[in-house]
Symmetry: D2
Subunit: 364 residues, 4 copies
Amino acid sequence: MSETHETVAHGMQPEDSSELRKLYKGFEEQSLIPLWTQLGDLMPMHPKPKAVPHVWKWADLLPLAEASGELVPVGRGGERRAIGLANPGLAPNAYISPTLWCAIQYLGPRETAPEHRHAQNAFRFVVEGEGVWTVVDGDPVRMSRGDLLLTPGWQFHGHHNDRDAPMAWLDGLDIPFSQQMDVGFFEFGSDRVTDEATPNFSRGERLWAHPGLRPLSGLRNTVSSPLAAFRWEHTDRALTEQLLLEDEGEPATFGYGHAAIRFVNPTTGGDVMPTIRCEFHRLREGAQSTPRQEVGSTVFQVFEGRGGVSINGTTHKLEKGDIFTVPSWVPWALQAETQFDLFRFSDAPIMERLAFMRTHVQAD
Amino acid sequence: MSETHETVAHGMQPEDSSELRKLYKGFEEQSLIPLWTQLGDLMPMHPKPKAVPHVWKWADLLPLAEASGELVPVGRGGERRAIGLANPGLAPNAYISPTLWCAIQYLGPRETAPEHRHAQNAFRFVVEGEGVWTVVDGDPVRMSRGDLLLTPGWQFHGHHNDRDAPMAWLDGLDIPFSQQMDVGFFEFGSDRVTDEATPNFSRGERLWAHPGLRPLSGLRNTVSSPLAAFRWEHTDRALTEQLLLEDEGEPATFGYGHAAIRFVNPTTGGDVMPTIRCEFHRLREGAQSTPRQEVGSTVFQVFEGRGGVSINGTTHKLEKGDIFTVPSWVPWALQAETQFDLFRFSDAPIMERLAFMRTHVQAD
Amino acid sequence: MSETHETVAHGMQPEDSSELRKLYKGFEEQSLIPLWTQLGDLMPMHPKPKAVPHVWKWADLLPLAEASGELVPVGRGGERRAIGLANPGLAPNAYISPTLWCAIQYLGPRETAPEHRHAQNAFRFVVEGEGVWTVVDGDPVRMSRGDLLLTPGWQFHGHHNDRDAPMAWLDGLDIPFSQQMDVGFFEFGSDRVTDEATPNFSRGERLWAHPGLRPLSGLRNTVSSPLAAFRWEHTDRALTEQLLLEDEGEPATFGYGHAAIRFVNPTTGGDVMPTIRCEFHRLREGAQSTPRQEVGSTVFQVFEGRGGVSINGTTHKLEKGDIFTVPSWVPWALQAETQFDLFRFSDAPIMERLAFMRTHVQAD
Amino acid sequence: MSETHETVAHGMQPEDSSELRKLYKGFEEQSLIPLWTQLGDLMPMHPKPKAVPHVWKWADLLPLAEASGELVPVGRGGERRAIGLANPGLAPNAYISPTLWCAIQYLGPRETAPEHRHAQNAFRFVVEGEGVWTVVDGDPVRMSRGDLLLTPGWQFHGHHNDRDAPMAWLDGLDIPFSQQMDVGFFEFGSDRVTDEATPNFSRGERLWAHPGLRPLSGLRNTVSSPLAAFRWEHTDRALTEQLLLEDEGEPATFGYGHAAIRFVNPTTGGDVMPTIRCEFHRLREGAQSTPRQEVGSTVFQVFEGRGGVSINGTTHKLEKGDIFTVPSWVPWALQAETQFDLFRFSDAPIMERLAFMRTHVQAD
């Protein structure tokens, strides 16, 4: 593809001459750049991401997070002990993709990450551990294994570890989008969390986590989900039921042997936040997902089980905690050695809301 | 109000004359009716419903339903052993309001109500009993105390009683709307239910009854809820939590001492069906709801507890199972003697979608 | 269809007995009506409207309107000299259909119809004449031949005739819907119009009647069109262009030889008012529209030309000014003897917003 | 602001040690970057765009475009003789802002720019000249002074100059967004335009450019406007009427002496394309716009008149054809010496659809 472009582009280039050089100098002086010298890069035949597919092994990440816990304080200013997964194609930025930021955050025993808020949308996913509460606009939200916790844009949030053991989890944000598009605002909040209670269920859950029920005190739709915690118990049951229904011959799964749910805003049925889609996928032992290409970038973390992912023809082995990213329009497919559970997030809401989404599913 | 209108209307009436009589005869011959003789009725100052407020006592209804069980067969043709609550102001129609139909349906031991489908939207609410399964588009849905079960427009449905005891429940439909507006279609289905299984949970629940989760196999929004059963366990917990949150000083209830939820379509967060809103209200012992007037008509059934309703200034005592209707724009308020639980349905989606909704809440 | 129902219904009727009579007496005493005695009427196999197809001849209507001008005053109380077209199937109501009201309104030289407002949505269509201004929320709107003028719900409006000649036009409202559904509110306004200016273009047109342009002072969407006048000049040009494009082989018409436009709310692209759809249809000489059935009722007025309409198999000749109505689900098709122009309005927005719409187009 | 951040960030930096260096080396080996070393850049207190405000003078641009016409061929490969306005803060990219591309395109006498299509959304605005037709999905669209012409994503388009004089115009696209977000697709089309006719009005205009009217053949909403040409005649009249209405004391303008329209998709009333907002602003002689800050970036081109713009406190003189850009959250205000007409485009639909939009209007 790029060859074609270069060839064609070369084909049309004007002949060198002193007049041309003068013209190009004029362009430079006037902050102008002609299209004909760079069309192929600006407008490729299909997405040609600088971001590359990449796999981070949990076995490598966790020790570094633990070492950070020893060496790096957490507090006002740095705000978070978070280690960003930096896509090698996007260096020197700590972007896992052009839109998404993904980090391991680590909080030592009894530590507190102070409160702040920002326009950026954020979530946490807990691959293991417990004991931390994130306080979102004053509402303490327990973080436990398998849970998805939201801190949508411009809601104050801080975290505190109520236990004597450290805890690490996955952070996802739309920082690269917001940084490149110049949409970020930030405000410091309380140095400690504003509510140190450690309830089992947040107030948001007590109001909203009832299937098909909506409080009359909450009839106004919100751009992000008012439910900030999606518990593993529910996710696991939903996936389990899909596979059981498939066993019974019912059309419940996303593909054969492939159960999947999307986390949604109960006020709209749409994505939990305006820029980030969150899903959970489970493949039966031995199952494979249908190879697909999608506009936009995505990140997966293995929650449980063993398997692999084939990205653009290359297969990577995966174990619990491993994280990988697939750039825009790169084909991918999952393979399960055991029952294989993966958390997924992506920038699909951006692509869909701006009408750029395309999906290509490989025919059988 | 009507006086004013009549006076004014009289004031503008043309003087009687032979020419006028000839004109009116001409109108009659040409199927014409002048506005000036009937403006006050056609366009009142505010809604002046023919429907009247009315209370039906469960203690009266149930024995008649039981007697029907003895005397009236159920089967193809009559289709249902359903006894409509006929608003005295709308006689001779069996309409509880201009839009809504409400009936007690009764199914004897081991009886089956055959399958059919219709454009009309329908639901069942179970004030007591169990043992019947309603089969909705082939999916058997258990009916138990406190549950709301949907059969949205054009979905096949039949009921069968799996037990040796009879069961009675509340039916709600938009028959009066559909009959007056000429929108009804009907089709017979199987003489027996198409799936005689009696599972605890319908397939719809297994796919959809997970808070904030949506199956990837169900990403297309539907006009009615794909979740057909809303279980009492969830309703009760949601209401309980609202009152507990109120105790903690949080803004969770609809009014002081007044918890309330709306049953919603999880694909949109909106009403469960395009024409019918379903809600559940709970008042603390001693609490009162704020008096309000609303465009459109509504029906309540007491689920548990004792209290009263004041409608247009008249107070009615209420006990378990009692049903009452409030016509459009008539002021109403609930009073709770004990903890007071009420199921509610209304035509509010019609009023809102057509931009006719107005609400007036009495200031304290 | 009805035979089947009656037969089947008979088949399931309980045997007469003293107990049954006692039961039925109990129903009556308790304001109850059983479903099994009236299912066929309540839930027909398809819409069985009481309204009937009917044609009103302009040659009959206009003289009666003129006689009314002589005999009936216009003023506060009666409000309007409007003569309703009463569907013979809906007697004694002045309803042209279960949802729609249609009248000839007549205003003598220099007369004024006082200002008022109501929840009901209204429009005027001018089949001939000029000289009247309708003042909508203080904005004087010229009424000329071929124009559609809106007075959406709860906007004050009055009319005054600025000329020495009388004028008659078509009024359309959702009075039957609002009366049966109890949604009406009404308020008297000024006894004279609040602005007696007679500009060529209303302020609404000056702000909004620019194709594809929206004022930055009007960015909030409104349930009804902020543009209150749709001029014949534009309607005619749009229809002319569709037929020219068809001549050029482009896909522009609704059916072969059948141009049609819908009047829309420029803030949404949807219907001009929440309950009423307005359209204009033009058939080439000799063309026919494809026979179709639609849920909901509709009214047409011939604007120009000669032709006919076949309703449920019966053909009616039509000339300028003639008005006809087609009830729900009754098949209809237009035939053009000359170029044939018709204004149309219907309750389709009600049917679509409540998900009751069905359309059946007869295959060729 | 940045000082604060740096200070605080310094405050929390871990002390240097061999362990820390080892940790940082580990990060590097594992493609990880810690948040605490770069928080201030990633998440600023408010947008801190790399893009800078910049003014390009038409008097500088046009001669360079003309020289390009002499020296650079147009044809397959380079595709367009377009000269991009490169924001000095975003070098070496030819981006006028992080989301928008803006260029002068130049087509010599009788030249053709070949057909292609791309996922990127594009428009042309004509500050002067005529004689070129752009052919959009086979529909020839005349380009004349003051017109806005759309080529929404994935529609084939090419241009040809039907005259003996060259023509230059402004191109706007979402290339920077699509390039950074990896959403672009591209396809070559015909080497010549597929329809060489030069009609006054495109077929799209003939179908759609009728105020408040929608063809029944076009009832499906589209993500971009089906109307591809917005004529100066309409724009000018809309602005003129707003100022006249203001003279009459009516609330028609955007601010005092400041008329403005938005170009919209007639199927929705929303923006013409999913990523680009287009507007036209007119200030009376001597008028000023209210200073405002907005999330997202914008570009203006002076169409007629003289005046200035104050950007972040610096005032720039402006004449016909001059182009300037305002980055995200930078305050700006217009001042008119004469009647002052400006075309504007921005990425506001991106910000609004993703819920990042904020606006701050300076109080008087």
